[in-house]
């Protein structure tokens, strides 16, 4: 009798071991409706229900940030960045403190990055956006923006004309021809805020990617190993899908590249990251990847460094304590900042 029970017990133990019971499980979710991009969440939690609570929370937060930082659409009952733009030269607009914080942060980054990421470039970016949209829809008649048009718009990108009143929570653009475009910073900023919120709620092991703005919360499940995030090879004809696979934990990784958002005019590709000086797409690199403890900063830095010649960018990144960079040149050559190697998977 005892032996029989023992036998059954042993079998149960084995079955439990095989099914891998106990410990955290890996779950994934994805969304297509925020920040005009593809969002992925991978996390290790104790149950599916727990995972869904966290992923829905993250999704709800992303939707809120998306509405606030939107420059194309109005939402009922919300003053967003489009509202601020629509009231340029007219009147200050009362906004959520999240917008105030984002704009203040963006102004700081403008100074830190030696003016290489400028949220006041909206009028120039809009021209490129419109030509790119038309050129993609009708490739045979794709055209480059008229340079005079770009130059006229570039007269209206003085970031100091964005007046932030932190007491009244209002924002006013003094120049009626100017507009704000937070495309280079907003996603990273939202990911940073939401990651710290969800961490405070108890999520310990997650990888969040909002259109390539990645934040790694802790490591992978019970083993707590680093997350492996590959940096896409911009050369799609190459056999190698990645230029490098990173191993990251509690940091953010953001890539700016020329290989997804672009259009073609007379056989030449024109991508979406526009250099403030030339008013044309920056053409130093195919992509720049930043790893940084802060996701908002990583986002701003990836655009800024993409806009700088290599030597300038290298010196700049090496002067920052919490950021590393990886450059992929147009000929496929790859360069790293001083301590990037510690993030490369062995």
């Amino acid at each position: 009798m005892i032996n029989k029970s023992l036998c059954i017990f042993m079998v149960l133990v084995i079955i439990t071991m095989i099914s891998g019971c106990g410990g955290k499980q890996r779950y994934e979710a994805q969304y297509l409706d925020v920040f005009d991009t593809y969002t992925q969440i991978i996390a290790y939690t104790n149950s599916q229900k727990e995972f869904e609570e966290y992923s829905e929370y993250i999704h709800d937060e992303l939707l809120e940030y998306h509405k606030l930082f939107d420059i194309y659409n109005d939402y009922e009952g919300i003053n967003n960045i489009k509202t601020i733009n629509d009231n340029a030269g007219i009147q200050p607009v009362k906004v959520d403190s999240k917008i105030i914080d984002l704009l203040k942060f963006s102004k700081e980054e403008y100074v830190i990055t030696n003016e290489n990421v400028n949220i006041a470039m909206g009028s120039v970016l809009k021209i490129w956006h419109d030509y790119r949209t038309k050129g993609t829809e009708d490739p045979d008649n794709a055209q480059l923006p008229d340079f005079n048009e770009l130059e006229n718009a570039s007269m209206h990108m003085d970031i100091d004309k964005i007046i932030i009143d932190t007491e009244d929570n209002t924002v006013f653009i003094e120049d009626s021809e100017m507009s704000i475009d937070v495309g280079a910073i907003a996603k990273g900023y939202a990911v940073e805020q939401i990651s710290s919120d969800v961490k405070a709620k108890g999520l310990e092991n997650a990888l969040i990617s909002v259109g390539g703005n990645v934040f790694a919360i802790g490591g992978k499940g019970d083993s707590n190993e680093s997350w492996n995030v590959g940096v896409q090879n911009p050369d799609e004809n190459s056999d190698e899908s990645n230029v490098c696979i990173t191993a990251i934990k509690d940091v953010s990784l953001v890539t700016s590249g020329d290989y997804q958002r672009y259009y073609t005019v007379d056989g030449v590709k024109y991508h979406h990251i526009i250099n403030q000086q030339t008013l044309m797409p920056s053409d130093y690199f195919s992509s720049v990847t930043i790893i940084c403890t802060d996701s908002a900063e990583a986002d701003a830095l990836s655009t800024a460094v993409f806009n700088m010649p290599f030597e300038e960018g290298e010196e700049f990144i090496n002067s920052l304590e919490n950021a590393e960079a990886l450059w992929v040149f147009k000929n496929g050559e790859v360069k790293y900042s001083a301590d990037f190697e510690k993030y490369i998977k062995q």
Binding site: L32, D36, N242
Partner: protein
Amino acid sequence: MKFVKKTDIIIIILLFVVALVSYFSYKFIFSDVPAVAQIYYEAKLVRTVDLSKNEDYTFRLAENEDVLIHVFVDGSIAFEESDCHDKICINSGKLDTVGQSAACLPNKIVIKIVATTYSDDKPDLIV
């Protein structure tokens, strides 16, 4: 008193059988297919494509026929045609590595390469 009891032998045999069965079922379920492509429409998994068949073909989803997807002999998959305005899906090129994904936002379709067996070594994400 015998050194080995009959029930002991039964337990040993049982362990052996369970081990054998689980080993082969594991091998069978997670056969040597390196990767599959999962295709999502509106965040729901609607199709899984085996990329190891060395076949070349195209198809459209019944849920949304505005997008043509191409599976290549070399085990890669790509958005080939789409009526969307930005063509970011097509620009994403061929996908063949675990962790890669591409999306057509206007058409609400995502292609994602996943491993048939999870391993700590494979990339969690490629961006």
